[in-house]
């Protein structure tokens, strides 16, 4: 009995394996979203989940992919590289998605994007702003403008607000690739503007007590403090700087560009200058519709991370629409469609809430409009980013 059954089972398993190894036709139109839903990074990832889900609902309500709805498949990356790799592998091999929007952190992207590159699956970074992300490979692009473009605007704006600024302190989270990349840009800008870099202080994104750094800043007697970190540590740093007596201007990097910072430093967030790649005040029709719908649903203006995640999904959807118009998506093999989608993403121009964006041949986003905002707190909990001309 066993002798006759076993070879049959083995041959059936072999046939099944061979069948699976063959090319698969597109069944459902799935786009992967790999962002941080747990860990400290979830503070940013939560906003991205909201932005992506909003895009799914909004774009499907308007016909999806030429009448066919698409589906987002979410995978939690956590806050570290291992989590991002795991999420990417699941999306690529288990969920068989056509493309991936993610991960949340540049630090994670350097680890997980090569996985997608090897599998020939297009990736759109929604918030990876470090130097070198598009250069990871042909299948990697980003909708998030690099810090080298955005950050200098904030320093120039600070000098407009206070032309007497001379001495500057720079603080950054040295365990985060994006922050170390951003601080490099800030430090170059400081020198290029003829300012003195009085002290450079390092910290970790997991730190909560910044007394050491704050006292060093106070003793350096600087006129401007520039912080590159994430919302939790950055907000705490702002709070402790103010509590311990620093009265000068503060610039926050991209990681502080979220209303999640408001509960951290509360009223002490007031006056912090932030360079932004997105503003709810951006006047394009696409953005105004997005802001109106988002505000109606979530009772607050959309933050940058939500807008960028929305833009990431929108780019994927519009590229798939363009392909579908030439040849129905359901007639493609998944692997071939992934390659075609990657080509199409780089060819198109997209009217997103970020404004009109496109990509260069490396996958770097081409975006014209950037903003500088200043945080204005109404009370301990509620504040807004006020756009500075």
């Amino acid at each position: 009995m066993i002798r006759t059954t076993l070879p049959r089972l083995l041959s059936a398993a072999l046939l099944l394996t061979l069948g699976l190894a063959q090319a698969q036709k597109v069944d459902t139109i799935s786009i992967g979203v790999a962002v941080a839903q747990t860990s400290n990074t979830a503070l940013l990832g939560q906003e991205q989940v909201i932005g992506a889900k909003f895009a799914e609902k909004y774009l499907n309500a308007r016909g999806g992919i030429n009448g066919t709805p698409f589906k987002l498949v979410f995978q939690d990356t956590g806050g570290d590289e291992a989590g991002a790799i795991n999420a990417f592998q699941n999306l690529i091999t288990k969920d068989r998605v056509l493309g991936i929007v993610g991960p949340t952190l540049s630090q994670q992207a350097f680890a997980s994007d090569p996985i997608a590159e090897r599998a020939k699956v297009p990736v759109l970074g929604p918030s990876n702003t470090a130097k070198g992300i598009p250069q990871i490979g042909n299948f990697v692009a980003r909708v998030s403008a690099p810090v080298a473009v955005v950050a200098p605007n904030a320093v120039k704006q600070a000098l407009k607000l206070d032309p007497k600024i001379k001495d500057v302190a720079v603080l950054y989270a040295q365990n985060d690739a994006f922050s170390t990349s951003e601080t490099g840009t800030f430090q170059e800008t400081v020198k290029a503007q003829g300012l003195t870099l009085s002290t450079v202080q390092k910290f970790q994104t997991t730190d909560t007590d910044f007394t050491t750094q704050v006292t060093a800043v106070l003793n350096a007697k600087v006129d401007l403090v520039i912080i590159s970190g994430l919302a939790a540590d950055g907000g705490n740093l702002v709070k402790q700087l103010r509590q311990l007596g620093y009265k000068g201007l503060i610039i926050g990097g991209n990681g502080l560009n979220t209303s999640n910072m408001f509960p951290v430093c509360q009223k002490l967030c007031d006056g912090v200058i932030i360079a932004q790649a997105y503003s709810p005040n951006q006047g394009s029709a696409a953005n105004q519709v997005f802001v109106k719908e988002y505000t109606a649903q979530y009772k607050k203006a959309p933050p940058q991370f939500a807008a960028q995640a929305y833009a990431g999904v929108q780019v994927m959807v519009e590229a798939l629409k363009a392909i579908d118009r030439k040849k129905k998506l359901t007639t493609w093999d998944v692997d071939d469609l992934r390659i075609e989608l990657n080509k199409q993403i780089l060819l198109g121009k997209y009217n997103t809430p970020l404004g009109l964006i496109s990509f260069d041949k490396e996958g770097e986003v081409i975006q014209k409009e950037f903003y500088v905002a200043q945080i204005r707190m109404k009370d301990a909990k509620n504040g807004s980013f006020v756009y500075l001309k």
């Binding site: 860990s39 007394t211 907000g235 705490n236």
Partner: protein, 324 residues
């Protein structure tokens, strides 16, 4: 090093050291009775802060299942009676103590009753910690919450003076944490050293079998130990939360590893050792130059390693006596 820098580092070290110390007190209590590390202590620490925040504010407005739910429509859990921050802190600590008791029931007692290896209990407590942390995030999101600005975290610095042209600062909340950790050390020392409960606890720690034969309800005293441990952990969570904000569901986890280093350095099972270990590690971290402060964890653990080479039993631990 300038005099101002030296004084500032000393104050910073004592302040952060007392945070580690108060965290490690709860850790070491459980170890001294059961001989196991409760990895869920970091999650209990976090819960203490969240409980206090709930009692004081009553609403989580950002994310999670409880988003926008007003838990106390009349502004207080006690039908409109305003709750002082100190009372909310105590109630939050009691809540954390009760959760610690629940953890004992779910994660430790079943293992103990089956005579399982202590390593299994440790892994089980790690699992409980992850469940609690993720449950917090599910309910209230990953956002940071700050206590209202009238809580003592927002008060002006307790100490601020100039020394050699440089400013030296000590925050009020740091003084409070330091004072509370010393008070807790004294109270726990008194309870364990001078009361009937303490005697019974020491008997259980020495030999649970013999203690049981003497009429001591071992399970009951283990529950008391867990409650005390959770209470101290929850109190520490609120105090640290007032100093730095309730930094999301994971904010206690980062203290877990440091707390472990503290109790090993101080001497496993030694309550004064936990305080001394906390202060030593805090001071070691504080004296790392500001430009290299990102490496302070490495310095703290290198110090731990160096001290253990000389004193394997820790600073105040006792060498195990083996009868031959």
């Amino acid at each position: 090093m300038e005099a101002s820098q030296l004084v500032q580092n000393l104050l910073n070290g004592l302040a952060i050291g007392s945070v580690y110390a108060i965290f490690a007190l709860g850790y070491t209590l459980v170890f001294s009775i059961l001989g196991i590390i409760n990895f869920a202590h970091g999650a209990v620490f976090t819960l203490g802060a969240y409980f206090t925040y709930t009692l004081v504010v009553g609403q989580f407005e950002n994310n999670g299942l409880l988003k926008g739910v007003n838990l106390f429509p009349d502004g207080s859990p006690f039908s409109g009676q305003p709750l002082t921050f100190a009372l909310a802190t105590l109630l939050g600590a009691v809540g954390a103590g009760l959760v610690a008791v629940l953890i004992e029931r779910l994660a430790f007692r079943p293992m103990r009753s089956r005579g399982a290896d202590p390593l299994l209990a440790l892994v089980s407590s790690l699992g409980v910690a992850l469940v609690i942390v993720n449950l917090i995030q599910l309910l209230v999101g990953a956002e940071i919450y700050n206590f209202p600005s009238d809580a003592y975290g927002e008060t002006p610095p307790a100490l601020s003076f100039t020394l050699g042209g440089n400013v030296v600062i000590l925050r009020t909340v740091q003084v409070i944490i330091f004072a509370v950790s010393l008070v807790m050390l004294t109270v726990l020392g008194f309870v364990i050293g001078r009361t009937k409960i303490g005697k019974a606890l020491r008997a259980v720690a020495e030999n649970p079998g013999t203690a049981s034969l003497l009429g001591i309800s071992v399970d009951r005293f283990i529950v008391i130990t867990f409650f005390l441990s959770g209470f101290v952990g929850g109190l520490a969570g609120t105090l640290v939360g007032t100093a730095f904000g309730v930094a999301g569901p994971y904010f206690g986890v980062s203290y877990g590893l440091k707390g472990l280093a503290v109790i090993v350095l101080g001497g496993l099972g030694s309550i004064p050792g936990a305080v001394l270990g906390g202060l030593v590690i805090g001071l070691a971290e504080a004296f790392v130059p500001a430009d290299y402060s990102a490496y302070k964890d490495a310095v703290a653990f290198a110090l731990l390693f160096a001290i253990l080479l000389v004193r394997p039993q820790g600073l105040l631990g006792r060498s195990a006596i083996q009868k031959v």
